[in-house]
């Protein structure tokens, strides 16, 4: 068992022959991910990294039985790429691309609402089930198979949390980078539900940031339905109101968007909130110890 991804997942890469696609496809293959091909319109029939290139996602699905796609397509074409993957019957779409126009994502979200595909991202590091498959741009070597599920809106901050967990001799069941944009395919709550239902996950780390309502929504669900310990951190305690902190979604509008407000809600819902990002790993370690 694992969440979203395992060693049997058959992965294709959209934007396969571009520099980003090529580099990360290589890394994914080295990690042991079952990459079965890629898509670059106009280059169908060629071989790249020893794997077949297809003109369309539907061709790729037909020929390789792919069920996961990871998208490295540039922002102007990324929304189209996501919808193409959903149309072709891909089950898990991981969109790495940063900088997709918000109005494009409004359409994508609507398009996906009547389809079965799950989108993770955009503007995210991807999904990894250590020891089985890595679909994204995270450095594989910092991960270790284990029982901590990690959910995060950020890239390098996720790596930081992963690294802390690994250094304490623990490991991760699955890490989901949900992305830093105002509209994401998989919300914090969606990811929490998956982890709560996963037999391999014994504790969950939720790393949020300023802006939006996702952490509060997840916290309320955890209060009512949570069965595993959850550690929470919200980045941006020192961020000023009204300024976007890098991520398009990381901006404090009203009072509910601040790190303090989110941390308070999470605490009141029984989540173990840490003030310092340096304490994420040891807090989850102590909770797991208590359980045993």
């Amino acid at each position: 068992m694992s969440v979203l991804l395992n060693k049997h997942s058959r992965v294709i890469i959209q934007g396969f022959t571009g520099s980003e696609g090529t580099f990360h496809a290589t890394q994914m293959i080295e990690y042991g991910t079952k990459v079965v091909g890629g898509v670059t319109p106009g280059k169908g029939g060629q071989k790249h990294l020893g794997l077949p290139v297809f003109n369309s996602v539907s061709d790729a699905v037909k020929e390789t039985a792919a069920d996961v796609s990871v998208i490295f397509v540039p922002p102007p074409f990324a929304a189209d790429a996501i919808m193409e993957a959903a149309d072709a019957g891909i089950k898990l779409i991981v969109a790495i691309t940063e900088g997709i126009p918000v109005s494009d994502m409004v359409m994508v979200k609507e398009y996906l609402s009547s389809r079965t595909a799950r989108l993770v991202g955009p503007n995210c590091p991807g999904v990894i089930t250590p020891g089985e498959a890595k679909v994204g741009i995270m450095p594989g070597f910092i991960h270790r198979k284990g029982s901590v599920g990690i959910i995060s809106r950020s890239g390098t901050l996720t790596y930081e949390a992963v690294d802390q967990v690994t250094r304490l001799g623990l490991g991760q069941s699955t890490c989901i980078g949900i992305g830093g944009d105002p509209i994401v395919g998989t919300t914090t709550l969606d990811a929490v539900k998956l982890m709560m239902a996963d037999a391999d996950t014994e504790a969950i780390i939720v790393i949020g940031e300023i802006g939006g309502n996702m952490e509060a929504e997840a916290a309320h669900w955890i209060r009512d339905h949570g069965k595993k310990p959850v550690v929470g951190f919200i980045a941006g305690q020192t961020a000023p109101k009204g300024r976007r902190m890098g991520h398009a979604g990381a901006i404090i509008g009203g009072k509910g968007d601040t790190a303090a407000a989110k941390m308070e809600i999470m605490r009141s819902c029984g989540i173990h909130v840490v003030e310092s990002p340096a304490d994420i790993g040891k807090t989850v370690a102590s909770l797991l110890k208590k359980q045993k």
């Binding site: 580099f23 922002p75 102007p76 997709i100 126009p101 918000v102 109005s103 494009d104 994502m105 409004v106 359409m107 979200k109 609507e110 741009i137 995270m138 450095p139 910092i142 995060s152 809106r153 950020s154 890239g155 390098t156 901050l157 996720t158 790596y159 930081e160 690294d163 802390q164 105002p182 509209i183 940031e209 300023i210 939006g212 309502n213 980045a235 941006g236 305690q237 020192t238 961020a239 000023p240 009204g242 300024r243 976007r244 902190m245 890098g246 991520h247 979604g249 990381a250 901006i251 404090i252 509008g253 009203g254 009072k255 509910g256 968007d257 790190a259 003030e275 310092s276 990002p277 340096a278």
Partner: protein, 413 residues
Amino acid sequence: MAFTKLVTGNLIKTEQNMNLHEYQGYQLLSRYNVKTADGGMAATPEDAVAIAAGLKEKSDSEIFVVKAQIHAGGRGKGGGVKVARSVDEVGELAGKILGMQLVTPQTGPEGKKVNRVFVARNVFYKGDSEPREFYMSVLLDRDTGKHVMIYSPDGGMDIEEVAQKSPERIFREIIDPAAGFQPFQSRRIAFNLGLSGNAYKDMLKFAPALYTAFKGSDAQLFEINPVLKTSDDQIMAIDCKVVIDDNALYRHPEIEAMRDLTEEDATETEAGKYNLNFVKLDGNVGCMVNGAGLAMATMDLIKLSGGEPANFLDVGGTASAETVEAGFRIILKDPAVKAILINIFGGIVRCDRVANGVVEACRAYGELPVPVIVRLQGTNAEEARDIINNSSLKVYSASSFADAARMVKEVLT
């Protein structure tokens, strides 16, 4: 309750996305047949007089409004909006407002220099009915992932205040992404605003046109406060705040051309040239980090260690000698900075390369006036620490996040 949350959670001043001036907003609105205040932009008192003279000929009214064009709200409170009772007075007032350092509740104490004014014909003229002011905006509702039109009969005021005091007076129409803005929604808006007769009919054109303008410009926000119902029952925009989604500017070169660099922070613009994402803050510890989330977390760590972050700086995926040096220069422009913390989690980017970049940047910069703490973790982190430790530079090397915090505390005391 839901309305309050929605409104206060979304009506935001987004400075990193592209803001337009009021007069530029009118240009966009006019393109989509949204009725706006009659008038024009002037950069000199002479131009202002010429615009007023033209308006006088059309309407035979000698009352005008002169409005400072800056990227900040609350202009009236700072003396940036004045009523003139003759064409000559327009020239006088424009002369006073142009070049002034306008301070409003949103500009900060230093204010903003006014380079342009908008001269409008008076729209609060006498007629068969009383003029009324409404609030209307279009933006993204993050909870549903759909666009929403928010409106209220209480226009001309701070909408967050309305949301707090009388949330029942704030309405919203969620727009279906596939079907688009529907006529029944326009009718509901017009009824909720208490409109009848010609004003009702005018609103049935105004509301969908406003949404089309928002959508067509790939905006993040169109906020019209107030929307005016004139005494002769016309509906028009008499103010306009527009924020465009930077990520969509590639398909709107005509809007990109409206960018006013004098309104944007010079240091932040300079940082942008090096692909550095920089936001200035009022603290004493500068920081340079890869990734926005980690950057925010690093700022938080600085605060927990007894310092105050002096900036947000995301160096992105590549931290080369050139970008690190640019980062040093940008951070050290601020004399309040007492220390710099560099925090890089090397995933794809190798720490030893970053370390070499840091060493090179330190040498290129010359004598660094403040201590620098470098924390490199991830790919080739140990090699990186050796490079830093053997560099004979005044640079401290930390291995964990907690170590970095302790070192910040040490150098500050």
